[in-house]
């Protein structure tokens, strides 16, 4: 438990003098601009977290029913990302690995994987082919992307974090024009889902086809996208983004999904499936004041989300299961609840309507590279919310320091009120090399 954080701290602080030394130079040697055919780089992160547990909440009971904890829980997280590329002629190979390390109450764990590993060919300046594991990241939303059909779900708590891709084949064709339509591009995607290939995406043994059409029309970014093929229900989407003025941007995203199958619980705790179409959408804005305060506001409707009653039924199942475990030792109901969590109830933002607000003030009091921010996320169905103030400093070349706290507020049977924590305090120290 104590070894991992110690190794990380040692590694990070050994690297600090290198960063300081790099700042001595004041000249621009043209040799700095020479391009090499290869590139190697990476990122190391150390993130200790203190959780203040809510021992009466449903998700605390579900996670710790057989291993009760005190009021607080300390966790040390580490991350190592390595990336490299090699380029020759029209060909390029790119890879990025990710290793997550965790030391917590349950012991130490490590998970390593390739986030991306693909080969590219670029026969023309307006045509490119990629084959391999890649993140596509479609959509214009900051916190949510309902139209990102070929990506893993984004974590709205860390929307700028690198994500793991899927194995696919894709191309980009670009065409520019004079006139109101300035750019058109088409991105077709072949998306196989078989045993050992994207098997966590959906139903196996399907070769899915997806695509995105992009238009820059009347100074507005517009995308139209689709996914079909059998691994997931067919879906169609659109998004837009436009600057109304130099400091005011609006964006939106829409996804229509046919035949969404949802596992829900009724008031008696019985599981059943519902099937129907779902429309999810997001509308947002980004605004910058003359004193450098950036505001991001997004409203998100999750058409496939659970209603307040469906969520209450789920919390009821957990509480019933917990009582049964306490009185008889029987874990059947809690096992059922764990399965339902994986099936959707345990996802972040599993309900239908949310509001996201982020305010960040760049360099207040003329302190360069210092950005305090506060982020709020509210479940509009039950009024519960989380509030996350943070302080970010990037003043030392290649280093990033972020101190963040998260406070969760909500009544019993509300989404945020039933999360396992009341609050969270975390420090993130990152170094790029």
């Amino acid at each position: 438990m104590k070894r991992l954080p110690a190794i990380f701290l040692l590694l990070l602080f050994c690297l600090i003098p290198l960063a300081a030394a790099a700042e001595e130079s004041y000249t621009f040697d043209p040799a700095e601009t020479e391009k090499k055919p290869y590139h190697v780089g990476g990122y190391v992160e150390f993130k200790p977290v203190l959780y203040g547990l809510d021992r009466d909440s449903a998700f605390y009971k579900l996670r710790f029913f057989d291993n009760p904890q005190g009021r607080n829980l300390v966790e040390a997280n580490g991350k190592i990302q390595l990336e490299g590329s090699y380029e020759k002629s029209i060909f390029r190979v790119y890879g990025k690995t990710n290793t997550d390390l965790k030391a917590s109450y349950s012991g130490e764990s490590e998970r390593s994987t390739f986030y991306e590993l693909y080969g590219s060919a670029k026969p023309l300046s307006n045509l490119k082919f990629d084959v391999g594991k890649k993140t596509m990241k479609w959509g214009k939303g900051y916190a949510w992307n309902p139209a990102a059909f070929v990506d893993r779900p984004k974590d709205p708590d860390e929307p700028e974090q690198a994500m793991e891709g899927y194995i696919l084949a894709t191309a980009d064709y670009i065409k520019s024009f004079d006139g109101p339509l300035k750019t058109f591009s088409f991105t077709p995607v072949l998306f196989p889902v078989y045993d050992h290939v994207n098997s966590d995406f959906g139903n196996n043994n399907h070769l899915n086809v997806a695509g995105r059409f992009y238009f820059l029309l009347y100074d507005t970014d517009i995308d139209l996208m689709f996914l079909t093929g059998g691994s997931k229900p067919d879906r169609y989407g659109a998004d837009f983004s436009r600057n109304i003025t130099t400091n005011f941007e609006v964006h939106g995203e829409l996804a229509y999904v046919r035949n969404v199958v949802k596992n829900v619980l009724d008031a008696s705790g019985n599981r059943h499936q519902t099937e129907g179409e779902a429309i999810s959408y997001l509308i947002g804005l980004r605004h910058l004041t003359s004193f450098d305060l950036t505001t991001i506001i997004e409203y998100y409707h999750n058409g496939a989300g659970f209603s307040e009653d469906e969520m209450k039924n789920y919390f009821g199942l957990i509480n019933k299961g917990y009582d049964a475990y306490r009185s008889t030792g029987n874990t059947a109901l809690l096992g059922n609840a764990l399965q339902m969590a994986e099936g959707g109830y345990g996802r972040s933002n599993a309900m239908t309507d949310y509001l996201y607000v982020r305010l960040s003030q760049k360099e207040p009091f003329n302190v360069l590279y210092f950005t305090p921010a506060v982020t709020g996320m509210m479940n509009l169905c039950d009024g519960s919310f989380s509030l996350t103030p943070e302080l970010l400093y990037t003043g030392i070349t290649n280093w990033e320091f972020r101190l963040r706290t998260g406070v969760i507020v909500g009544a019993r049977n509300s989404e945020f009120g039933e999360k396992q924590n009341d609050y969270r305090i975390e420090l993130r120290v990152g170094y790029y090399f």
Binding site: A22, F28, N126, N243
Partner: protein
């Protein structure tokens, strides 16, 4: 008769605006002397704090025509791979981790410090400004510029330009109410080859950031043409392939 004609011509010549400076043509010449219409270059940006602490960024930049500019960060490691694109009033930032270009505004700064996005993704001055008047001040012209639209970062500019070299020496960026936002100084005129002779160092300070200074150093400025497709959102992650 000849004397009368001569006197008449002299009077007309003195009164006629034939010798008045054509502000638009002068500004176009300043633009072209600063850079070819289409080019590639490398730039190092330095943010210098009052304590003397510095932070450096290195960018590869390509420009085409009057309203297309794209830049790629090649250092430091924390910024490497980030790219910015400007098409007229539209600006985007592509961060590899986020994976998709997000719209940014001209007044924000992707590097922090005194330079904002409009300074880093500078278009031709003639694309964004009209010349209101030109004064002569010894060895320099003083051009008074007014933004063509409200979407331009600075409402007014005052450009001091060397009369012989037709290159700027100083620019004051002002609000509509003549409040000074920043001053840009052009220094160290250098021959980059291919007929490009221009200042290699651009310094800026601002009363809004007292004691802070940002510096831009130019290198390898070269005439080069690019396809329009290079200046698109879809191409942003591939800018490295142009180097």
């Amino acid at each position: 008769m000849k004397k009368l004609l001569l006197i008449g011509l002299l009077i007309v010549s003195a009164a006629c605006p034939a010798f008045a400076i054509d502000g638009k043509a002068l500004l176009e010449q300043v633009d072209r002397n600063l850079s070819p219409e289409s080019y590639e270059s490398y730039r190092k940006l330095l943010n210098i704090e009052p304590s003397g602490a510095k932070k450096e960024f290195t960018l590869f930049t390509v420009k085409k025509g009057v309203d297309k500019v794209a830049s790629l960060f090649i250092a430091p490691a924390s910024e490497k791979g980030r790219s910015t694109l400007r098409l007229g009033d539209n600006m985007w930032l592509n961060i590899p981790n986020i994976g998709k270009p997000i719209r940014i505004t001209s007044l924000q700064s992707v590097v922090g410090g005194v330079f904002n996005n409009a300074d880093i993704l500078q278009l031709d001055y003639t694309a964004e400004y009209d010349v209101e008047k030109v004064d002569e001040q010894g060895k320099e012209y003083l051009l008074y510029l007014k933004a063509k639209t409200k979407t331009v970062a600075y409402d007014k500019l005052k450009i001091w330009a060397d009369k012989v070299k037709k290159l700027p020496t100083k620019i004051e960026c002002l609000t509509e109410k003549d409040m000074l936002i920043k001053t840009i100084y052009f220094k160290d005129v250098k021959d980059f080859g291919g007929g490009i002779v221009r200042p290699a160092v651009i310094e800026t300070d601002s009363p809004l950031y007292k004691g802070y200074k940002s510096v831009m150093i130019m290198a390898k400025v070269k005439k080069k043409t690019f396809k329009d497709e290079v200046f698109t959102l879809t191409f942003m992650p591939n800018l490295e392939s142009l180097r």
